[in-house]
């Protein structure tokens, strides 16, 4: 069962994405009671915000699982792991994006929820998916810029800085 939220957390609505390029593109997107966004997408957007990624919402018509194609190709799955948070939903859960319920495909979102692109199922064949998504990937963030920004914030607010070093794998 897909849980739905009528309102997104405010933190997700602010253009607080990791890179300035994302911030320039981002615009607040409000979910309403008329077109609720699945909680899985909200959670993925929060993770994407922290990790400088996009959100790929894969919408499957009954009996299909497009994301399975991505997972079967190691190179594709690794690239997607690095660049997107993937959420698989039934096509019937795509009302927020005016999605046709009997069609499979995907919607690519910025971490703010803003739609960047949409793709039909035939555009997401395993060997073509990276080529389709690549133009929309985030620009790499700058680690030293992150630290500089954190130091400025820490000075302003009287806090210390906890830096976590990690990798997608």
């Amino acid at each position: 069962m897909n849980r739905k939220l009528s309102l997104l957390p405010l933190t997700l609505l602010l253009p607080a994405c990791a890179s300035t390029e994302q911030a320039a593109q981002a615009a607040p997107v409000l979910a309403s009671a008329a077109s609720p966004m699945a909680v899985e997408v909200v959670e993925a957007s929060a993770r994407a915000n922290v990790h400088n990624k996009r959100v790929l919402v894969v919408l499957n018509k009954e009996g299909e699982d497009l994301a399975k194609n991505f997972k079967s190709d190691r190179a594709v799955s690794r690239k997607l792991l690095y660049e997107v948070e993937t959420v698989s939903l039934p096509a019937t859960a795509g009302s927020h994006w005016n999605w046709q319920e009997d069609a499979s495909g995907a919607v690519l979102l910025a971490c703010s929820g803003k739609e960047l692109a949409r793709f039909g199922a035939d555009e997401l064949a395993s060997d073509a998916v990276i080529g389709k998504l690549q133009p929309h990937f985030c620009e790499p963030a700058d680690a030293n810029q992150k630290l500089g920004d954190a130091m400025a914030e820490a000075k302003k607010t009287g806090r210390n800085i906890l830096i976590r070093f990690d990798a997608p794998w």
Binding site: N52, A154, R159, N160, L162, R164, A167
Partner: protein, 120 residues
């Protein structure tokens, strides 16, 4: 795992009150690996690795636990969790009280315990 813990309902408001959170992806962030190497130096352990700095960039404490210097990673084991709490105690400054650190410690125990491997 640490990121998941820091976002929990009990811990998140206390954590955000006391610390500025930065996540550096050593593979994807430009200069990420170099910054990791610079701040970590010769200390042992891989990823995840964490360090707490003051606002001037001076190190207060890292995830290399005392006295043996092992990196606590996640953390998950009782010893790793204890060191993480020690990190918070040493760096809470005037923003976070002892009771709040204790609340985070209890929340960490609730989070980590089901993830520990059973001891044989």
């Amino acid at each position: 795992m640490l990121e998941e813990f820091l976002g929990r309902d009990v811990t998140a408001p206390i954590y955000n009150k006391g610390w500025v959170d930065v996540m550096v992806d050593v593979d994807r962030d430009t200069g990420g690996k170099e910054l990791n190497n610079r701040l970590k130096g010769e200390r042992s352990g891989g990823l995840p690795w964490a360090v707490i700095l003051d606002a001037d960039g001076k190190e207060i404490v890292s995830s290399n636990a005392e006295p043996d210097g092992g990196n606590i990673g996640g953390p998950v084991s009782p010893e790793e969790c204890a060191w993480f709490v020690e990190m918070l105690k040493r760096s809470r400054g005037g923003k976070v009280g002892e009771a709040e650190v204790a609340a985070v410690a209890a929340d960490l125990e609730a989070f980590a315990k089901p993830r520990r491997r059973p001891q044989r």
